[in-house]
């Protein structure tokens, strides 16, 4: 870990940005003078431009939306949900992928063929299309988004884990463990998996940015987090028809989104370069945006 988080400036900035985002997401909605969901005097407060003051004299860093709600406070309330879904969705996908990949590699035969055929079929459908179809079949909401992100994002990790395990399986220490009488599943859990998990961690890190982007996309299209609960995607959607007259309503929430995804992507890139070197055989799969 020391080597990863050493004096590298990009890593330092990215970590600082994420920490700041997390702190703001925790404290800004707590310290806000008004309930970020409540609608007050709409005519006096609505559509204040960034850095402007409303009719009551209150100052708004990023302005207000069409109902007079402070955009910065709402953006940070949305950050809680978007960050949680980004991390949660990516971890869920990684857990499913690790399990599927490990079972496929360890059991082989029909399990392997079925799991990999399913992964191939799912990968042939663009992930956004798959997400849209799944999200439309169930009632939109936080849980649906999480489950759907997990169900459509596990294939990459599964493939990586599978090929890593197939490589590790042939190493002498695995044979030694078997020879010493360690049970079949103990060998997988204690000896093989820990040696195969590295690339999957990189994929999961890069997956967080992807999950945040996909959640915002679903919410933007009305199939993700539903208003009045704010998420970055549905806040951008909420300002969509004001883009010509009050563009900050749609564009401001995007700043937090871009900073977060940028920071996660930079961290993931560094992690990949450190763990795998420049000529990572799986680099292409990891760099792909779905």
């Amino acid at each position: 870990m020391r080597r990863i988080f050493s004096t590298d400036r990009v890593t330092a900035w990215a970590t600082a940005a994420l920490a700041a985002m997390l702190a703001l997401a925790l404290f800004v909605p707590l310290l806000a003078r008004h309930d970020p969901l409540a609608i007050g005097d709409v005519l006096a407060l609505r559509l204040v431009p960034p850095f402007g003051r409303d009719a009551a004299g209150a100052w708004h860093l990023l302005g207000t939306d069409r109902f007079g709600r402070d955009l910065f406070v709402r953006m940070m309330l949305a950050a809680r949900i978007s960050l949680a879904i980004g991390v949660g969705g990516s971890l869920l996908a990684a857990a499913i992928g690790t399990m599927a990949g490990a079972l496929a590699a360890w059991l082989g035969g029909i399990t392997d063929r079925v799991a990999m055929a399913l992964a191939d079929a799912l990968l042939a459908i663009p992930r956004l299309v798959l997400l849209l179809v799944c999200a439309s079949l169930w009632r939109p909401g936080l849980l649906t988004v999480l489950v759907v992100l997990g169900a459509t994002g596990w294939m990459g990790v599964a493939r990586i884990i599978r090929s890593e395990i197939l490589g590790v399986r042939a190493r002498p220490f695995v044979e030694a463990a078997h020879a010493l009488g360690v049970s079949h599943w103990q060998v997988l859990w204690r000896h093989v998996l820990p040696n195969a998990i590295g690339p999957a961690i990189v994929a999961t890190t890069l997956g967080v940015g992807n999950a945040i982007l996909l959640e915002s996309g679903l919410s933007f299209l009305g199939l993700g987090i539903q208003p009045p609960r704010p998420s970055w995607g549905n806040m951008i959607a909420g300002g969509r028809d004001l883009i010509v007259t009050a563009p900050w309503v749609a564009l401001a929430p995007g700043i937090a989104l871009i900073v977060t995804v940028l920071a996660v992507t930079l961290l993931g890139d560094r992690l990949r370069d450190t763990l795998a070197g420049q000529r990572a055989p799986f680099a292409r799969q990891l760099g792909e945006r779905t």
Binding site: L132, S136, T265, R284
Partner: protein
């Protein structure tokens, strides 16, 4: 020769099996959804008898195996069913929308490579220096931004921004639609009108795509630059434009072809958002409308269509690769 054709045949078989898997998967997905499709198809005033009649009409009262066989058989014949809402054949509906998406995606993909590859080369050539760091930060930021945000930001710049700065009318671009509503422009004027409407959607898709391609080309070119023959080419006096334009480009071409096929899903995703933001009557928008209206035959049809495109692109890239790599005389088994 014999060997090559059997390898091609195997690839075709693989692609067909994969397509069949996808068709099955889509069927299972739709059937896994809670609720009876007939329930929300009938108007709220319908009686139980109406729902039963509709169920029989759609074949929803038959065993699942029969339903599956029917759906798979129809897809093979190119019949994707009938739209619930418009009663038009789904294949017609998709084919009507496809040219808009194909033109939008095709032009954007071309621009993506024309911008992304030279940009990546430029970054690799200046690797680690200020110019590289600055442009890499820029491409990574664009890569991190959602497509719909970039689209809206461009709209804001060319409408709100242009108006605020008092720019002339010619600098303001139309933000929505594919043609000026109510206008009957033909010939040259019509083309100009269409082109002006296309600037922002194409720019959005090309920017997002080029950022990704530049990210990839930068590392691919940096790898190639470490090879000994780059030094030899320089030593014999080849100009940089020839080293990069001929030697380096030729060496990363196979990777770019694979990348082109792999970028199709991203392009599809991008076009869904772009068509939604700019109200372009393409496939992505048709699918969104169908999803909002629970028009399942259209949703399933569009999904099959997209999957077929992805499978075909990967198949084509697989076949093209050996032709591009002089070291590989034939397809690997």
């Amino acid at each position: 020769m014999q060997n090559e054709w059997s390898a091609v045949a195997r690839r075709v078989a693989d692609a067909l099996v994969l397509f069949w898997l996808v068709v099955t998967l889509i069927f299972v997905l739709i059937r896994m959804a809670p609720g009876d499709p007939a329930e929300f198809l009938v108007p709220p005033t319908a009686t139980a008898g109406d729902a039963a009649r509709l169920r029989a009409e759609l074949g929803l009262d038959r065993p699942l195996a029969i339903q599956y066989a029917r759906w798979a058989g129809a897809v093979v014949r190119g019949d994707l069913g009938e739209s619930f809402s418009t009663r038009r054949p789904v294949s017609r509906l998709l084919l009507d929308a496809a040219p808009v998406s194909a033109a939008l995606g095709g032009i954007s993909l071309l621009l993506t490579f024309l911008i992304g590859v030279p940009l990546g080369m430029f970054q690799a050539a200046h690797r680690g220096r200020a110019l590289d760091r600055l442009t890499t930060l820029f491409t990574t930021t664009v890569y991190a931004a959602p497509t719909f945000w970039i689209a809206l930001a461009l709209v804001a710049v060319f409408t709100y921004g242009a108006a605020t700065l008092g720019l002339p009318q010619a600098m303001r671009l139309p933000a929505f639609g594919i043609r000026t509503p109510g206008s009957a422009l033909y010939g040259w004027a019509g083309f100009i009108d269409l082109a002006r409407h296309a600037v922002l959607p194409v720019a959005t898709l090309a920017a997002v795509g080029a950022a990704g391609i530049a990210r990839y080309s930068r590392s691919a070119v940096a790898d190639v630059l470490t090879e000994g023959w780059v030094g030899s080419a320089r030593a014999k006096g080849a100009r940089p434009s020839r080293v990069y334009g001929a030697h380096v480009l030729r060496n990363i071409t196979p990777q770019l072809v694979v990348l082109g096929a792999l970028s199709l899903p991203g392009l599809v995703a991008g076009s869904v958002f772009v068509e939604s933001v700019f109200s372009w009557p393409g496939l992505g928008r048709a699918m969104l409308v169908a999803i909002q209206g629970r028009d399942y035959p259209v949703v399933m049809g569009a999904t099959v269509f997209y999957a077929a495109a992805v499978i075909f692109a990967n198949f084509a890239a697989d076949l093209a690769l050996p032709l591009l790599d002089p070291r590989r005389a034939s397809l690997p088994a």
